[in-house]
């Protein structure tokens, strides 16, 4: 039913979309990584030390506790977001390959 050439073009577009979303998620997470790890933990740690979190000076807390917690959370978000993106991509590809099985058909 579908034209193989058109199908290939659609697949390629889907792959491009997937890759772009992937890179976008990655860049956002890496910006947070750099801001917290290299920023709060190192570059502005002396300035942050004037604030306190309980008994911790804030810059010191970021360097020895906070950054690590943020890193764990970042990877968790990445795993969840990317595995979802994968699932969405798989659905898109299935629809392109079998248009009759898609939402519009029956």
């Amino acid at each position: 039913m579908s034209d193989p050439k058109q199908e290939e073009a659609l697949l390629r577009a889907a792959n491009r979309r997937y890759w772009r979303s992937n890179v976008r998620i990655m860049i956002v997470l890496l910006l947070v990584w750099a801001f917290v790890g290299l920023g709060c933990g190192v570059l502005f740690s002396d300035w942050l030390n004037q604030f306190h979190l309980g008994g911790f000076p804030l810059g010191f807390w970021f360097a020895q506790q906070g950054s690590i917690v943020v890193f764990v959370v970042l990877i968790l978000i990445y795993a969840v977001a990317l595995n979802r993106l994968d699932a969405r991509h798989r659905r898109e590809v299935d629809e392109i390959r079998r248009p009759e099985a898609g939402g519009g058909g029956g």
Binding site: N15, Y18, W19, N22, M26, L29, L30, W33, G37, L38, G41, V42, L43, S45, D46, N49, L53, G54, G55, F56, P57, G59, F60, W61, A63, Q64, Q65, S67, I68, V69, F71, V72, L74, I75, L76, Y78, A79, L82, N83, L85, D86, H89, R90, V93
Partner: protein, 604 residues
């Protein structure tokens, strides 16, 4: 039962467990041998990665380093955990999708060159041998401290155990042994940490205890800052003190992060899971399990620091605590009085003068032999009695680099500081051995796969049969164990620079090459190979120059630990700068890059 008897029981039981696991997971093919048949569940792989990652240095050394460095100890905490974010986001899923066995495999295939492959093999071997030698030494040291055997005998026992389970089960045996080792080491780490946290702050969670108040209502960290200033040290929580200025902290953190993401024994762990999805999850699990120890280490460091100063400074001989006496025997700590009968602890004075004399009385035996050390101590006692010709021991111990207590004492003595039962002290010994053995076995496998798979099979004899390849793989582990053991018994100078060398070189070579290989389809062979060579060449020369040839750190004052970040920058600049002048990679390679970027949906 005595501590030593308990130690025999725990160490013996844990070794028996490792060997039993190895026997249950014997393998018969190279896929099982190198990547555990690619069937390891994500959480188990995360645990194995954590054990693989946390070495004797993390287990015994890190809290001690933090304890003496204060804020700057965060360099290691952030560097060694932040690297996992890079690894999980930039490398792990793609390398799993690529689906081969080793890091040089990827470099060689992506850059279509056996030269690049061999450069990668050499980097992997150098990094792994530097690292594994330190582990073997660590095994020996744990044995000698807890079981009072010779360091070298300890190294040989460690060699034998690793040899058996690594050759029998390859990656599969190593993975499941590491899962067991993770539980041994984390339990051994947490129990003393929780106990000392309760003792000092009344809070059972060490991470919360670190920010809590002591019994007198003053926050622990504020008290520690005040004590440090009184004794002449920089405040514990103050950023950027001494040689750890802003530039150096920044570069060292960056080099450790990129180096972590480029270390071959960590990367290969992500080849062992079933799918790309599982690779992402195991990145999370790995850092989750690592963070349990790394979030506890700064608490142990600060608690032990406070406890040590509080129970020693200003005390007389009769008031010294029991833990001091038991660790004095090992030479990790020593007190040379100045005649007033009270212990004094102060920072090192590099050039003593009349206004700024040496006031510190706490030292360690360090690399001095027992007889050398006793000679210094006896002469010091004669000097105290003003005998003619006798000299004070301070200058001599300073010259031998023995100022202050040994850093390792911070973890090793915590159970006794917290007055825990003797069986817990024995558990710490088993934990230290688990940390050292798990890291050593992971590294030995990388060495084996680099030689047997990348050099022998992929370059020298691509027609080798499965049986031959497996045989070569096992033999190389055998040889590597012996070489690593010899390095452990006769440590060459560069082994003490594990952090600078292994991480600096991995950051400057592998990390840029792999990232560009995945995220650019355009970067071809020559620029990538030159980039790796320049990065590793610059970094290695600079470290050797600064540490061994008295070269001044001319590059913005950056020390050996942070120079890998600059080497990495050079690698990126050279590779990307040269790329426009060379033809793009072949269509097949470009298709391969396309393929590793796609999620695995075509597979049944």
């Amino acid at each position: 039962m005595s501590t030593q008897a308990w130690t025999f029981v725990f160490v013996g039981a844990s070794f028996a467990l490792y060997l039993f696991i190895a026997w249950c997971s014997r393998v018969r093919d190279t896929k099982g041998f190198y990547v555990a048949g690619q069937g390891v569940p994500a959480a188990a792989n995360g645990m194995a990665t954590a054990a693989d990652w946390m070495s004797a240095a993390s287990f015994i050394g890190m809290a001690g380093i933090i304890s003496f460095l204060g804020y700057a100890g965060g360099v290691y905490l952030m560097g060694w955990t932040g690297g996992y974010v890079l690894l999980a986001l930039l490398l792990a899923p793609y390398l799993r999708k690529f689906g081969r066995y080793t890091v040089p495999d990827f470099i060689g295939d992506r850059y279509e060159s056996n030269v690049a492959r061999v450069v990668a093999v050499i980097c992997a071997l150098f990094v792994s041998f530097t690292y594994v030698a330190g582990q073997m030494r660590g095994v020996g040291i744990v044995f000698s401290r807890f079981l009072e055997v010779d360091v070298n005998v300890g190294v040989v026992i460690g060699m034998a155990i690793v040899f058996i389970y690594a050759t029998l089960g390859g990656m599969k045996g190593i993975t499941w042994t590491q899962v067991a080792q993770y539980w041994v080491l984390i339990t051994a780490y947490l129990i003393p940490a929780i106990a000392i946290s309760i003792k000092l702050t009344g809070n059972p969670i060490p991470q919360v205890g670190l920010g809590s108040e002591l019994a007198d209502g003053v926050p622990l960290l504020a008290k520690l800052d005040a004590i440090h200033k009184d004794l002449g040290f920089a405040a514990y929580t103050e950023s950027f003190t001494g040689k750890w200025d802003r530039v150096n902290v920044f570069c060292a953190v960056l080099a450790l992060m990129a180096g972590t993401a480029g270390l071959p024994h960590v990367i290969v762990r992500f080849y062992t899971v079933k799918t790309v999805k599982a690779a992402r999850w195991s990145g999370f699990w790995a850092l989750f399990f690592i963070s349990i120890l790394y979030l506890t280490a700064p608490a142990v460091g600060a608690f032990a620091r406070y406890f040590m100063i509080d129970s020693l400074h200003g005390k007389t001989e009769q008031q010294l605590p029991d833990w001091y006496h038991s660790w004095e025997r090992t030479g990790l700590i020593a007190w040379l009085d100045d005649g007033d009968g009270k212990v004094e602890y102060h920072p090192k004075v590099a050039k003593p003068t009349a206004e700024n004399p040496i006031r510190n009385e706490l030292y360690r035996r360090g690399s001095l032999s027992l007889t050398e050390f006793e000679a210094i101590r006896l002469e010091h006692q004669r000097w105290l009695k003003k005998e003619r010709g006798a000299e004070s021991g301070y200058a001599k111990l300073l010259a031998a680099g023995c100022d202050g207590p040994d850093r390792d004492i911070m973890v090793l003595a915590t159970p006794e500081m917290a007055e825990l039962m003797s069986w817990i002290i024995a558990l710490v010994a088993a934990g230290g051995l688990a940390a050292a053995l798990s890291t050593a076995s992971g590294l030995l496998l990388v060495i084996s796969s680099s030689v047997a798979h990348d050099l022998y099979y992929r370059v020298l004899d691509p027609s080798a049969t499965e049986r031959q390849r497996l045989f070569v793989g096992r033999s190389v582990i055998g040889v590597a164990v012996v070489v690593a053991g010899l390095f452990g018994i006769f440590p060459p100078g560069f082994v003490s620079e594990v952090v600078a060398f292994a991480f600096g070189l991995a950051a400057a070579s592998f990390f840029p090459a792999i990232v560009l290989g995945i995220f650019s389809k355009r970067v071809p062979t020559v620029p990538a190979t030159l980039g790796m060579t320049v990065g590793i060449g610059f970094t290695a020369c600079y470290i050797i120059g600064v540490r061994y040839a008295d070269m001044s750190p001319w590059c913005f004052g950056i020390g050996a630990q942070g120079i890998g970040a600059v080497g990495m920058l050079f690698n990126f600049i050279v590779t990307l700068g040269l790329t426009p002048f060379f033809a793009p990679p072949s269509p097949e390679t470009q298709a391969m890059v396309e393929r590793i970027r796609e999620p695995d949906i075509g597979e049944p």
